[in-house]
């Protein structure tokens, strides 16, 4: 598989008047085309910083990052960040407007995504009419609309209640697989990571270094099916033990 995103000895330091914080230190990792990687680690360890580095929003203070994809990675945050003054459709078209690529063809692609993922009826509504789960689905479509090769998701389900989280996770996973996107998901939820990933990258407490990388041995299974698989518990125990040791 093609190596899409390579980090070699990457470090990142925040400088503030109160002092400096080493958030990431000597981190090397490779994301391959088409895989689903989850990043787990204790809170405050540098996961968001790592995504920022992968997206190019932050430049490493040490080491090197190589991105061999075309379009910049698409970013999805904990909250959907839909603009309340724009309709759902206009929200989704925002990245195209910004990149000055709002062609008829691209707008039709956006509409096809709405159709495909059952949101066509809500296109002309404003975000405040939609439930949290639906809004997060719209946020995903907004990320997909400019056809990025890599998706970076920063705890995208953690603001949702448990029931919704499971079903939105299922939907998002299926959409991502169907659209064939390479994905890096940051989460603090071990079971969520097990239910969606090909590989899991576990980080140390701050500064973030690679603690361990796990390659999961599930066959192509949806998150809900994985949760019922007996291997799920075993993986959970391994990761739980390693994370807390």
């Amino acid at each position: 598989m093609k190596e899409l995103l390579t980090l070699e000895g990457v470090g990142f330091v925040y400088h503030t008047p109160d002092g400096e914080t080493v958030a990431v230190d000597g981190l090397s990792f490779t994301v391959k085309e088409g895989e689903f990687v989850s990043v787990i680690g204790p809170s405050g360890c540098g996961k968001t910083t790592l995504l920022g580095l992968m997206s190019g929003l932050l430049s490493p203070t040490e080491g090197k990052i190589t991105f061999s994809g075309g379009e910049k990675p698409g970013y999805m945050l904990q909250r959907d960040e839909l603009f309340p003054w724009r309709t759902i459709r206009k929200n989704v078209l925002l990245p195209l407007e910004i990149k000055k690529k709002l062609t008829k063809e691209n707008a039709e692609y956006a509409d096809s995504l709405f159709e495909k993922y059952g949101l066509a009826d809500f296109k002309e509504q404003y975000p405040d009419r939609l439930s949290g789960g639906m809004r997060q689905r719209v946020a995903l479509i907004r990320t997909l609309v400019f056809k990025p090769e890599v998706l970076l998701l920063d705890e995208p389900f953690s603001a949702l209640d448990y029931q919704t989280r499971l079903s939105v996770c299922e939907d998002v996973y299926n959409i991502i697989r169907r659209e064939n996107k390479t994905t890096v998901l940051v989460t603090h939820d071990i079971s969520e990571a097990i239910s969606v990933s090909d590989r899991i990258l576990m980080l140390t407490p701050r500064p973030a270094r690679v603690k361990k990388v796990y390659t999961l041995d599930f066959k192509e299974e949806s998150p809900l099916k994985r949760r019922k698989n007996p291997r799920f518990r075993e993986w959970f125990e391994i990761l739980w033990r390693d994370l807390n040791e």
Binding site: G74, I98, Y126, D128, F146
Partner: protein, 269 residues
């Protein structure tokens, strides 16, 4: 079930609400009528001195006279002109300065103490200087209104710009947005509520500016009439002019509220 299909409980609820709204309005009118009635009564009974305290009947007679002679329209026109000009200039200039300060963080830091000092300065103290620089006409009064409103405008708008959600800004940057795009597609739309708040504050400030200005230096306007009435001890004129001022200010506030309804409704903020 009635024709809208509401339950009996809901119909009762609506009826109760309507009744309570009527009661509130009745009470409001009653207070006004009571105060005016008591005032007039005390004047008629000789409890208060009509020369100093005037009376509703005398004020309305004076008002009638002012409008009948047509002279009042000139005064209203001039004061409205000064207030609206001050309001418009302060709004545009203050927003522009706020924009520049949002755009350039360095500039913002450098100018911060100046803005704080200018904000705390009682602008009326600049009256003599303004008169020397701008003469003793409407121009000086507009300058006064602008000075009083512009600093608050800058501070309010800058606050609104800077309150823009950090995660939304991050999202825009992840899409590759330029600073101009962040400004036009995110910062300005999300500051709309702050802009309307600013308009409401500004309209009050502009009234203070124009009336203060007319107190200091003027040959016409509602503020002039009030000062003149005081000087020649025609208190009926003072009261009548104040009443006109009240009506004008209320009218202007109603217009801003209407604008708010239209803008808020259209933009979902």
């Amino acid at each position: 079930m009635n024709k809208q299909g509401y339950s009996a409980g809901h119909v009762a609820y609506l009826k109760k609400r309507r009744r309570s709204a009527v009661a509130v309005n009745v009470a409001r009118v009653a207070i006004l009528a009571g105060v005016l009635g008591a005032w007039e009564l005390m004047y008629r009974l000789g409890v208060i001195d009509g020369f100093i305290f005037s009376a509703p009947s005398r004020i309305f007679a004076t008002l009638g006279g002012l409008f009948a002679s047509g002279e009042i329209y000139l005064h209203i026109g001039i004061t409205l002109y000064e207030t609206l000009a001050g309001f418009a200039i302060a709004t545009v200039a203050g927003s522009a300065v706020a924009l520049a300060l949002w755009w350039n963080e360095k500039l913002r830091k450098i100018l911060d103490p100046y803005i704080v000092v200018l904000n705390s300065l009682p602008k009326i103290a600049l009256g003599p200087i303004i008169i020397i620089w701008f003469g003793s006409g409407t121009r000086a009064i507009i300058v006064m209104a602008v000075l009083i409103a512009v600093v608050v405008t800058t501070i309010t708008m800058l606050g609104a710009f800077l309150e823009t959600d950090a995660d939304k800004t991050l999202l825009m940057r992840s899409m590759g947005a330029t600073k101009v795009q962040i400004l036009t597609k995110l910062v300005i739309p999300s500051s709309l509520a702050g802009f309307i708040n600013m308009l409401k504050i500004n309209i009050g400030m502009s009234w203070i500016g124009s009336i203060m200005g007319e107190y200091l230096v003027s040959k016409a306007g509602i503020g002039y009439l009030i000062v003149y009435g005081g000087q020649v001890f025609r208190l009926d004129l003072v009261y009548a002019s104040t009443l006109i001022l009240l009506a004008l200010a209320a009218g202007m506030y109603a217009l801003v509220s209407l604008a708010e309804k239209l803008i808020v409704g259209k933009n979902r903020i």
